[in-house]
């Protein structure tokens, strides 16, 4: 195997072709027209609540600006495609510079809004987005220019270069990431907020690894993973509430219950093909949520369950004062009490759970059952003819994935102390699936990257709350368009015949 990955494909820089100015303009005008039609109704008019009914607010300036920007973007794309990076570089740099200058000046103004009418959009975030896009164009154009200067044309496309670098780096990166993860609570500059975000990210990493068994290894598209998450959470909450069991007693139960739920749900539906399976699991996810919402006597309905006990450390409570004759963690070890202790403890619990999931997956991949999953993913008919029972094999993957979802759910319940059906909507399933697919199906480290990207980044930019989900949806689309096989696509079977590189 060669050291560098070389992909044949498009040449580094398209050679300059004679420019068809008319076509260029027509293309750009058509794009602007489409954007005009798209934004005419929904952007142009805002339905306002006024006393006694609704009123319409006009925003046609935004429509016009959006269409003009669409014109420029299309023109830029076409020019780059025709091998004319210079005008694109100049225009986009000028635009970005002017806009950024205005934005910075606007922030410095004592009287807010003095410069607003010179900005393309009222919302500052959207303006910054325009700056980003302009900078992106500038970077692309500059790269094209640089490549033309370079005598040796690089063959690899940028996307695959990144992936190759990452893949090589994975060997170093894995242990490094693990080291950072283990020491995170004791690193400088790490406060409670960062720890909270870290807990959230690791929870999603764990769920992603759990779902990776189902989607990445066995190739079963599960859009209702949140159902098992909910089963785990409610199992723990109800067991704790009715029988007073603690977290560690309930954790295995929560996993087993979720696993059983997986078998129960999987049994009738697993003979369906890909897309159908996706929609049926989605349906099941919704059914579980609706049942939780309406079975008031058992689950508390929309009120949820509160007062879920926190986890203890071998019976020691991580609170200021112990309840009911117990002993506290800081009292037992003679430490001074700090409220972050509990957060750190929660962080280590979820980290351990996640690493357990990872270790389990890595090991089971090498067992016959893991090989059967991967084989089933590649070709079901071939598997059948080789004597693998597809239904049972799929069922094990489904229920084991569900079990890890259940562990995750129990952890969620103990972290929040309160659960309600609100937390288990379809969007959660979509997020977890997006993490698996964006990371590159079957890639364990890809899940970590995707979780940090999709969960961590938006959490850090919490101020932009209202744009969070918009950006999330947009990112899903953009990443998939950029790398349809995921950030770190690796869908090679773990066993080869003959070995790779033999005879070369």
């Amino acid at each position: 195997m060669t050291a560098t990955v070389q992909t044949p494909g498009r040449a580094a820089t398209p050679p300059p072709r004679p420019l068809d100015r008319r076509r260029l303009l027509v293309d750009a005008a058509l794009t602007a027209l489409v954007v005009l039609a798209l934004s005419f109704a929904l952007v142009g008019f805002k339905i306002e609540d006024v006393p006694g009914g609704l009123d319409l607010l006009l925003r046609f300036d935004d429509v016009v600006v959006a269409a003009a920007l669409a014109f420029l973007v299309r023109l830029g794309v076409d020019l780059l495609g025709a091998g004319r990076p210079l005008p694109v570089l100049a225009t986009s740099l000028a635009l970005a510079g002017a806009l950024a200058g205005l934005l910075v000046a606007e922030q410095g103004q004592t009287e807010p809004g003095a410069l607003t009418r010179w900005l393309p959009f009222g919302a500052v975030v959207v303006d910054w987005l325009v700056v980003m896009i302009a900078l992106g164009f500038a970077a692309r154009a500059a790269a094209d220019l640089w490549r033309r200067r370079a005598t040796v044309a690089p063959v690899a496309t940028e996307a695959s270069t990144i992936a190759a670098t990452l893949r090589v780096a994975t060997r170093v990166l894995g242990p490094l990431l693990l080291g950072v993860a283990v020491t995170l609570p004791f690193l400088p500059e790490v406060d409670r907020r960062i720890l909270d975000i870290a807990i959230l990210v690791v929870t999603y990493v764990m769920l992603g690894w759990g779902l990776n068994i189902v989607v990445g290894l066995a190739g079963l598209l599960d859009l209702g993973y949140v159902a098992f998450y909910a089963v785990g959470a409610y199992s723990y909450a109800l067991l704790a509430q009715s029988f007073g069991f603690g977290f560690w007693t309930c954790l295995p139960f929560a996993g087993i219950m979720a696993g059983f739920a997986g078998i129960l749900l999987g049994f009738p539906v697993l003979r369906l093909r890909g897309d159908y399976l996706a929609i049926v699991t989605l349906g099941f996810g919704e059914i579980v949520r609706v049942v939780l919402l309406n079975w008031y006597q058992f689950t508390g309905g929309p009120d949820g369950i509160s007062g879920i006990p926190r986890p203890t450390f071998f019976g020691l409570e991580l609170t200021r004062t112990a309840s009911g004759g117990g002993e506290t963690f800081h009292g037992f070890f003679g430490l001074t009490y700090s409220p972050t202790d509990r957060i750190i403890y929660l962080y280590y619990i979820v980290l351990a759970l996640a690493l357990l999931t990872n270790a389990f997956t890595m090991r089971i991949r090498k067992l016959p059952i893991g090989r059967a999953w991967e084989a089933l993913r590649e070709d079901e008919i071939a598997c059948r003819s080789l004597g693998i029972n597809p239904r049972n094999t799929k069922l094990t993957a489904f229920s084991i994935g569900a079990m890890f979802g259940g562990f995750g759910g129990a952890f969620f319940a103990t972290r929040q102390g309160f659960i309600s059906p609100e937390s288990f909507t379809f969007i959660e399933s979509a997020i977890i699936l997006a993490i698996v697919v964006l990371g590159g199906m079957g890639s364990q480290i890809g899940v970590v990257f995707a979780a940090v990207l999709l969960i961590g980044l938006p959490e850090i930019f919490r101020d932009l709350q209202q744009y969070r989900m918009l950006a999330f949806g947009g990112a899903m689309v953009v990443i998939m368009l950029w790398r349809p096989r995921g950030l770190l696509a690796r869908r090679r079977p773990t066993i080869h015949l003959p070995p790779e590189g033999a005879g070369r």
Binding site: V34, L42, L54, D275, I279, Q466, G473, M476
Partner: protein, 304 residues
């Protein structure tokens, strides 16, 4: 008996709406084999565009109801169709030869994006609309219970039928219909014999979106309130309808929509209204287990 008939009327009206959305799902699935997850959002956008249309007409002083309905219908179909086209162009066409999961993820991403786009632009509050069409006639008296068929329900049923007739004509008699059916059978083969596959697929999305926008308009008229979240549940149920009827089959989509509408109406009337969504999904699961090809679908032969 009167109660039963009333539910039948309500169920048929609801079913028409689901059926119109389901056609979009089934056409897209038939031609490129993917679940267009964002189709429900297209329906929601149609509802919002119609609401804005009604309000504009109200401000302009147009009060004659047939004119209002016609103008809003045409405008909504046109503007929403652009969304269908743009969706295909931006999110699906670049991924046509990629793994199927990739397109599904972009579809889910688009669905999230469009939902939040509308929420940001129009606000999260529920938007009410004053009843545009009121009145109706009672056509059967059963003791002290009269069965009402409102003019609105009549309009929904008539418009849907008219659209169905036009749509059937389009698919069975025109050049586009021929190209569309050819692409459904085999994209590569259709391209070889000179069908412009890109145009055909784009036009399929345009038609699906405009039918869904009509469903959005009817939903708005029927329920009187909309918000940015209506697309999700309606979309899932319409997909259920498409699967129930046999995905890829156009009459099947309409039939499935009707059945889902009836099941929902009767379940709400005779059992519990809280579990009506569970009923719809359970039907989906049962159908897929016992008749995976749906009621009117052709069996899917797996070739090795």
């Amino acid at each position: 008996m009167g109660y039963f008939l009333q539910q039948l009327v309500n169920g048929v009206t609801l079913g028409m709406i689901y059926g119109l959305i389901a056609i979009g799902y089934t056409m897209v699935y038939g031609i490129i084999g993917m679940i267009n997850f964002a189709h429900g959002e297209i329906f929601m956008i149609g509802a919002f565009v119609s609401l804005i249309g009604f309000m504009l007409l109200g401000l302009a002083g147009v009060t004659w109801v047939p004119a209002m309905l016609l103008i809003v219908l045409v405008a909504t179909m046109a503007l929403t169709a652009v969304y269908g086209w743009a969706l295909e162009r931006v999110a699906y066409r670049p991924l046509r030869n990629s793994p199927r999961l990739a397109a599904l993820i972009t579809a889910i991403g688009m669905s999230i994006f469009l939902q939040n786009y509308v929420q940001l632009l129009q606000g999260a509050r529920v938007k009410p609309l004053q009843p545009v069409v009121s009145g109706g006639f009672a056509f059967l008296a059963d003791g002290d219970f009269t069965v009402n068929l409102s003019y609105l329900q009549l309009i929904i049923i008539v418009v849907t039928f008219a659209l169905m007739v036009g749509f059937t004509y389009l698919i069975t008699r025109t050049a586009f219909g021929r190209a569309q059916r050819a692409c459904q059978q085999d994209l590569g083969m259709a391209a070889l014999v000179g069908v412009n596959v890109n145009h055909t697929i784009a036009f399929t999305f345009v038609i699906g979106a405009s039918l869904a926008s009509v469903a959005g308009l009817m939903f708005l008229l029927n329920y009187g309130v909309i918000d940015f979240y209506i697309g999700f549940l309606a979309g899932i149920k319409a997909f259920t309808a498409a699967v129930l009827g046999g995905i890829g089959s156009l009459p099947g989509a309409m039939l499935g929509g009707l059945l889902i509408g009836l099941i929902e109406a009767f379940w709400s009337a005779y059992f519990t209204v809280e579990y009506k969504d569970v009923a719809a999904f359970s039907i989906l699961v049962l159908v897929l287990i016992f008749r995976p090809t749906g009621l009117l679908g052709k069996p899917d032969v797996e070739k090795v």
